[in-house]
Amino acid sequence: MNVKHFIEDKILLFEMTEELDHHNTEKIRDRADYEIQRFMPKRVIMDFFRVKFMDSAGIGLVIGRYKQVSAMGGRLELLNVSDKIKKIFEMAGILKIIPIIDVSLESQRKE
């Protein structure tokens, strides 16, 4: 997973790895927790651009980060969610509370 910090805006962006299964999400979770606690972001963006495979472990990962970020007053958003992944999130009903953003972030990037 790649991590990008946008310091001025207090945005933390996580680029998810290709295969989001139980095995890989355990590592991602640890890294994400560490970054969130260290950086105390206002917004956390999980970017699914690279994701080729996701099962329900991805749902757990998103819900877990949502709880963590909300608890510290921040906001969680999802980026580049394919139809296949969207379908999985919809089954769990999480898109009612966690927004998918579609805008390309490239334009606002100040790393």
């Binding site: 295969e19 095995h23 996701m54 099962d55 329900s56 749902i59 877990g64 769990a92």
Partner: protein, 146 residues
């Protein structure tokens, strides 16, 4: 009507989380003999991943055990069985409910069975506490004329 079996494979492996990828890739490679669409293969991969992960996490929480897969190809259908000799499930109906999980400490979402039911055409769960669990799923592979 009796379905005639075209091909069959069995595999078993240690309940280690790094086998999740290998397991779904193998079943997908086997099922691809029926010429499924990319969509159908993705559904199979996700469902196998759910069932295998469950055996790794829930069946053998504190030890390494064996996870078994059996796959059968029929003319237009694949049947996949994932089984373990682990803890077993006390209340299967409850376990199958969306969002039900006994492992929220591990950030499990409780959506595994729901995904299997949605992505496959048929799901059967058999389990005996202390003996193990067997999940059987089937998916029709629609013939595309090209």
């Amino acid at each position: 009507m009796i379905k005639s079996k075209k091909n069959e494979m069995k595999m078993e492996f240690d309940s280690k989380s790094n086998n999740e990828a290998f397991a779904r890739i193998s079943v997908a490679a086997f099922a691809s003999q029926l010429d499924p669409t990319i969509e159908e293969i993705a559904d199979i991969k996700t469902s196998v991943s759910e069932a295998v992960t469950n055996s790794i996490i829930h069946a053998y929480p504190n030890r390494t055990g064996l996870v078994k897969i059996r796959a059968i190809l029929y003319e237009d259908e694949v049947e996949i069985e994932v089984s373990d000799n682990g803890e077993g499930i006390e209340n299967i109906d409850e376990a199958k409910e969306p969002l039900f999980t006994t492992k929220c400490n591990l950030e499990r979402s409780g959506m595994g069975f729901t995904i299997m039911e949605n992505f496959m055409d048929n799901l059967k769960v058999e389990s005996i506490v202390g003996l193990g669990t067997k999940v059987t799923m089937t998916k029709k592979i629609k013939k595309v004329h090209n």
